[in-house]
């Protein structure tokens, strides 16, 4: 369609550009996002465990001490 009207050199450049980033459909890298997800989750679990420990029933015989 519009590609047919564009210059050959431009379209060949676009093909290369597509191969490198746009249009490849593959996500590359992104370990930072993975690390953030697991890190936040584990940190929140640790904090919640601490809060449970801090709120533990003192008088009960089954307290965690």
């Amino acid at each position: 369609m519009i590609a047919l009207t564009s210059l050959t050199s431009v379209s060949s450049l676009m093909v290369l550009a597509q191969a490198s980033s746009v249009g490849s459909g593959r996500l590359v890298g992104g370990w930072g996002y993975v690390g953030a997800c697991y890190g936040i989750t584990v940190a929140a679990f640790v904090l919640y465990s601490v809060s449970l420990w801090a709120r533990r029933p003192r008088a009960a015989s089954d307290s965690k001490e």
Partner: protein, 237 residues
């Protein structure tokens, strides 16, 4: 039972979550399209499943409380709501982080995300309501009503991706997920289940101790004698 909660359950949680996440992060292949970012699935999906399970426990406990009054089911309802809110909030955060590289945005007001946000607000409201009502019995009844009505959010969130057009994909099934990815997801989900139960048990003990202290305040200190406990709860009912 006590020993299991104290040692077995934490060990089971650490073992299953550690194993499942190791499988997910190191052993499982990356996704063809999402690459390594797909590994967020092994934390996001179990979090959301357990959030919904905890909130369902909250619903069952609320109904049970109204049918047959007991501080135990009231304490369970309170604990399950708090644990469910924790898991649901984390599920939403991990989902938003997952959305950035895949969808291109952290957030969009699509039906799934919107209904999930409403769900979290509803359970926050439930916990706030519990804080504001001083009388334990009124608090238990009113919050049980809120819990029952709030529980309609659960099927709405679950089916939102089927009923309406959304950015979020519909539920996956073992047919749409490769077996090497299903295994880590299953193991991580059972690990998350163990953790949810662990949190629930400890939170329940706190809530029950608080209830007993509140109810027994004028007469005596809370008791662990089952006979006295029965007498106390029947007095309340």
């Amino acid at each position: 039972m006590d020993k299991f909660v104290k040692w077995g359950l934490p060990a089971l949680t650490l073992g299953l979550l550690g194993w499942g996440w190791w499988l997910g992060l190191a052993w499982a292949p990356p996704d063809r399209e999402m690459g390594d970012v797909q590994r967020i699935m092994y934390v996001h999906v179990p979090l959301q499943w357990m959030a919904m399970l905890a909130m369902f426990i909250n619903f069952v406990a609320a109904v049970t409380y109204l049918m047959r009054q007991s501080w135990k089911t009231d304490a369970l309802a309170e604990s399950a709501a708090e644990v469910g809110l924790l898991f649901g909030t984390l599920g939403m955060i991990t989902g938003a982080i997952w959305g950035r590289p895949t969808w291109g945005v952290y957030w969009s007001w699509d039906p799934r995300l919107t209904s999930e946000a409403i769900l979290l607000v509803a359970y926050t409201g439930y916990l706030v309501l519990r804080r504001f009502v001083e009388d334990p019995e009124k608090r238990a009844v009113w919050s049980a009503v809120v819990a029952i009505i709030g529980a309609i959010n659960l099927p709405i969130v679950w089916f939102s991706v089927r009923w309406w057009r959304s950015l979020h994909q519909t539920q996956s099934s073992p047919k749409t997920v490769d077996p090497q990815m299903v295994l880590p997801l299953r193991v991580a989900a059972f690990g998350m289940l163990a953790l949810m139960v662990l949190f629930l048990v400890h939170r329940y003990r706190i809530a029950l101790a608080e209830r007993r202290a509140e109810v027994a305040l004028p007469e005596a200190l809370p008791t662990d004698d089952p006979a006295l406990r029965a007498a106390q709860s029947s007095k309340v009912a």
